[in-house]
């Protein structure tokens, strides 16, 4: 990323607690427009909580600040604006089971952006083609494999034309043979201008696709750098230990 590139996400002093248990201990992070950032780390390290805070799916300490495209993320009217710009893809696909794939992708732009039905349908078909499942448009989610459903979920998120896409372990719930097709879609997405923040256990993907890799542990941002820096020459022992464990697994 160029040093001149504008930051689209800015996180300052992010603290998040669940009751008396503190999950995030003062995270500072800037993410540039168009950047692809992969967040790695052991389970329970706070990775998912971090990205859930970015669109305020988790409330966080009022002393912390997060801005997305210049808008402060906080409860109130501005939050809807933030969420309209920040798409999210979860582990579970959560497509509406009683609606066709096409309708699932059309729904949000029609409702939130006021897009006409014809335009929403045109755009939805284009996106389904982009994620490689145009032929499934008239099917219902239950007729699709997990990998296909996740690709629909990505198309659905893209339908809102978000500036930022957050991925929360998007392949964790998939059978191994379906992981590749979803990662392929994400790989193609990277570099199209959309900012991506991806919480993942797929180290190969992170190494190949990320502009920057962040390693988290114990609710802290331990180390970040280019994939080569993190995977080939990690500075911190905790990063080395984690990578040894996952890469030798």
């Amino acid at each position: 990323m160029s040093a001149q590139t504008k930051n689209i996400i800015s996180v300052r002093g992010l603290v998040k607690s669940y009751g008396t248990f503190t999950v995030l201990h003062g995270i500072d992070l800037d993410i540039a427009e168009g950047e692809v950032v992969c967040v790695i780390g052991p389970s329970g390290s706070g990775k998912s909580t971090l990205i859930r805070c970015i669109n305020h799916l988790e409330a966080f300490s009022p002393d912390s600040t997060i801005t997305v495209d210049g808008i402060r993320v906080e409860p109130g009217a501005a939050l809807a604006k933030v969420r309209a710009e920040v798409g999210m893809v979860f582990q579970s696909f959560n497509l509406f089971p009683h609606m066709t794939v096409l309708k699932n992708v059309m729904l949000a732009p029609m409702r939130v952006r006021g897009t006409s039905e014809a335009e929403a349908a045109r755009k939805a078909r284009e996106l389904l083609a982009r994620v490689g499942i145009s032929e499934q448009a008239e099917k219902y989610p239950g007729q699709l494999s997990g990998g296909q459903q996740q690709r629909v979920a990505i198309a659905r998120a893209l339908a809102m034309e978000p500036k930022v896409l957050l991925f929360d372990e998007p392949t964790s719930a998939l059978d191994p043979e379906m992981v590749g097709e979803v990662l392929d879609v994400m790989r193609h997405l990277a570099g199209t201008g959309v900012t991506m923040v991806v919480v993942t256990h797929e180290m190969g993907f992170a190494r190949q696709v990320a502009d920057r890799v962040i390693f988290m542990d114990g609710g802290k941002l331990i180390e970040m750098g280019s994939p080569a820096e993190i995977f080939d020459n990690p500075r911190e022992e905790r990063t080395r230990g984690f990578l040894r464990a996952v890469l030798n697994h």
Binding site: S17, L57, S92, P97, H98
Partner: protein, 421 residues
Amino acid sequence: MADQPSLDLDFVRSQFPGLNRGWTFFDNAGGSQILQPAMDRINSFLIERNVQIGGSYEVSQNAAKALYEARTAAMHLVNATRPEEIVFGSSTTSLLQNLARAMQSQLNPGDEIIVSISDHESNIGPWDRLQDAGVVLKFWPLNKDTLTLELADLEALMSERTRLVCVTHASNILGSVNPIRQFADFVHERGARICVDAVAYAPHRLVDVQAFDVDYYVFSLYKTYGPHYALMYGKYDHLLELDTLYHYFYGKDKVPGKLEPGNPNYELAYSTCGIVDYLSKLGEQAGDTGSVRSRIETAFKAITAQEDALTERLLSYLRSRNDCQIVGQSHNRESLRVPTIAFRFDGRNAADLCKAMDEYKIAMRFGDFHSRRLAEYLDLTDQGGMLRVSMVHYNTLEEVDRFTAALDRILSSNAGLAKAS
């Protein structure tokens, strides 16, 4: 006994006749279904012993025995030290109002009572009214970041004039369990007493008033698998100090009768035996053949395991939507969240979404659930307030799945959009 006791859900559901009528009941924090054994006790009292107590004749003696049995059952249920520590009343609200009235002679102008902002109005209003007698009311705030009550905030409020701290064991909105023993120790060290509203806790977790070291502890039987009735535990010595609410010739030593003006409703009190019988049976089925109390303890371990599964199923659905605000902790850590789960959807009116659910025969609730001060404090009163799913151990994962499928349909429609503000 198994390390992880589990429930025989077929048996459990067979004990609640109301569950067979085609509805999914997710409004249990408003009122649970009643147990058949509780109804059996009510019926048997009305048929066999339905007279006034205090007579010399056999039926009256048997009625008095039934009331004593009821207090004994409640003693086992909460682990009181003696049956006389149990006071029956029509609801938690009325019991707390009675308690406040019965404490009046102990309180002087300038004495202080602390209430928590996260409490149901039942444990705020009665103390608030004592301000007319010069008592000073203070509010223990909730940390909006952690959604917990913090002792540092309580410390700042307490003074040598603090007589009582009133707090909920679990909020009926947030669902998280407060560390009551820790609170009690803190309050006692500063010379005050603690009064706990356990309405949203008692249906879900083991009550042990001795382990909690609480002074007063109140909950509703109609949310704990019984009829519309309630009970209050009080330490015996504290109950002795309370003013009589009954006739003038009921002296202070008439514990607990002086606190039950007009006498308790015998048949409803007697239903407590049915609740305890049921819990004992659950404990027995989980392999515990010990004392009644031991079996109750085991029953609640099994209940907790079932409720944890229900909680996680619903929370994981809600967490995976990017338009949902879970009110309270979004994770159930160490079983410290009961399955009372409030939430809101962006731009959607909660009342309309809730009413749309009626069509699916799924009973739930919207609004502030009479914890209005908390709803206002957290700024959650617009758009119809919150939706709340409140489950108990007789609910099933299939019911949660049916609910989320219905919610998917409702959310994909325009329900609740027009009225959002």
